[in-house]
Amino acid sequence: MTDATQNTGAVAPQGSLHTLDARTKRRNAAEGRFKLYGMIAIGIGLLMLVTLLYTILSKGTGAFTQTFVSMEVELLESKLDKSGERDLEKIKKVTTFGYAPLIKSAFEKTVEANGIETDLKSKDMTKILSKSAASQLRNYVIANPDKIGQTIEFRFLANSRVDGYMKGRVTRDSIANDKNITPAQLDLVDQLIEVGALKKTFNIDFIIGADASDQRPEAAGIGVAMVGSFFMMLVVLVLALPIGVAASIYLEEFAPKNWITDIIEVNISNLAAVPSIVFGILGLAVFINYMHLPQSAPLVGGLVLTLMTLPTIIISTRAALKAVPPSIRDAALGVGASKMQAVFHHVLPLAAPGILTGTIIGLAQALGETAPLLLIGMIGFIASNMPETVGEGLLSPNSAMPAQIYEWAKRADPAFYERAWGGIIILLIFLISMNTLAVLLRRRFERRW
């Protein structure tokens, strides 16, 4: 017995399983180090992500609240409708200048009623309101002419300096050289806050509203740009999905494998790597200069983004088709299905989750794309009206969410800067929801084979 053990001991390394030999120790140490590097890498990544999210949220959430001043305005018939006929055409003749006095007197009354003491003249008091106040009043009157003569409670946007003051961006020190606001006006603001006439609340208009001119950052919203993005995505989906899927099915399942298809394949991969601005200039040359499609139209934007998205969709669709085991095709052909039946009855349903994921990711990419829009003029003007029909939505000039964000970031007023961050939050929400949808669809349709 003892002899036997000694004999085997000479061949195989001997030792207790409870103590590690040097080799195992070295291997374990190497593995431990590798795990550590991995964790450090993930840690750095997470840290960056958190920093990014924190920056975006801390800078952007302000855009979702806005300062409003509420007051009761008497809609004087003598000012708005001298004839008393309630004739809309005549009422429309009164410009916003005609409404200014109403706001002034309403402001005076509010101050008086609340017992606020101030040396400011009514003209300077109303300066804490947004320049959009008069037009807000006018729009209301035109929409409701029967309200003339009554006293109605209004909520006016405060001007962006006051809003900045409420959000801590503007202080009494920082306005020393600011012509737009004076310390006396800020005193008035403080007093209005005390009596509850001036409040910072959630501002839905930022999400559904239109962009506003340089002078009125407080009135700017991303809603119209969102609609522009929506119509572009519609164009991309309607064009890129069928074209991309049909092209991939043909290339993957039907096309002979020869040098022509090889060239096509290489070129599709290359197209996926072409900088998006190239597609932009192509769109400008072909769709606008040559085909004379309207500038700044979501249709053109959508066409350009379709070009950009096609390679992504084709590549992911082909990958999804390739991933379907060939035995499934054999099985279908074996029972006498035609190639097309095999593809449409068996291969495509199995590839569908992959195709959908690829499409959604392609769309998400297109949604966030800015550079090509620069070239087709979807940047640099103010999209002020919601389109009313699908045709108008496709053809009338509009912007897109990332273009709008870029536009705001470019403007001088810090109030716009805040809105740019706010816009980024909305864009990210869209992108995250789309990617989540892609993951969910994948889970939902994924099947074993």
Binding site: I328, A332, L333, G334, V335, A337
Partner: protein, 265 residues
């Protein structure tokens, strides 16, 4: 085509169903089948035996033109079914495959319900006029595939959820559901237990009444049990072809003898 088939039923038992002449198959530069000549009888079971990689599956796939789907594969020579060249330009492989069914080496059920697996073929060929007829075909096929008792309570469960052996019998049932004239079976029993194997062999014996069956097998016993004719392949050559009893008791070629006695393989 219809007429020749009718003729075949009237003429004597050893009528030829499939005849192959000078068949060569290349995968790119690999010469996988070398000059094979063989006549396969109608209404009989023919077994293909031979060591792994000798080209049994390749030759089988020539008979229903499944090799068309492999890009690098090239087939030369003539293969005739009922006297008609199946590699003729006018032949649509889809029509051919409806007539020549196949059970693959690896079970490959569709990732659909058991019912749909069987019903798919009859549906695309319009074999059933209504749901009741389709139900009947499904039941009959599953019975012939020796799997009915195991799945009758879960016809709408996925076919991929069955065990490997059950999946293979499902594939057999799927292949017979379209009533092919020739049934090609590539090692149909390699994943089956002895009981299921016996059932499948019984099915093969039954099919012989109406169809020509070609079966690839690695089991000498199986070949001896079910087949009337046996072909022995070696390195792409058809070494010996003859009555099963003769091949197993009195092989002419010494390679055949070594193989069936287990000396090469």
């Amino acid at each position: 085509m219809y007429d020749t088939e009718k003729l075949g039923t009237d003429v004597n038992q050893t009528e030829t169903k499939i005849s192959a002449r000078n068949v060569q198959v290349y995968y790119g530069d690999t010469h996988a089948i070398k000059d094979v000549n063989v006549d396969i009888d109608a209404k009989a079971v023919t077994a293909f035996i031979g060591p792994s990689g000798c080209g049994k599956s390749t030759f089988l796939r020539c008979i229903n033109r499944m090799n068309d789907t492999i890009d690098v594969c090239r087939v030369e020579g003539d293969i005739k079914i009922d006297g008609e060249d199946i590699y003729d330009k006018r032949v649509d492989p889809v029509q051919l495959r409806a007539k020549v069914g196949m059970v693959f080496q690896k079970p490959n059920p569709f990732p659909k319900s058991i019912y749909d697996n069987i019903a798919y073929g009859p549906r695309i060929h319009g074999l059933a006029k209504n749901k009741a007829e389709l139900d009947e075909i499904v039941e009959k096929s599953l019975r012939r595939g020796a799997i009915w008792n195991e799945v009758k309570d879960r016809l709408h469960a996925p076919g991929t959820g069955l065990s490997g052996g059950q999946q293979q019998r499902l594939c057999i049932a799927r292949a017979v559901a379209t009533e092919p004239e020739v049934l090609l079976m590539d090692e149909p029993c390699s994943a089956l237990d002895p009981i299921a194997t016996a059932q499948v062999e019984e099915l093969i014996d039954e099919l012989r009444d109406q169809y020509s069956v070609v079966i690839v097998t690695h089991s000498m016993q199986q070949a001896a049990r079910v087949s009337q004719k046996t072909a022995f392949f070696h390195l792409g050559n058809l070494v010996e072809y003859g009555d099963t009893s003769q091949i197993f008791t009195n092989p002419k070629d010494e390679r055949t003898e070594s193989y069936i006695t287990g000396r090469i393989g």
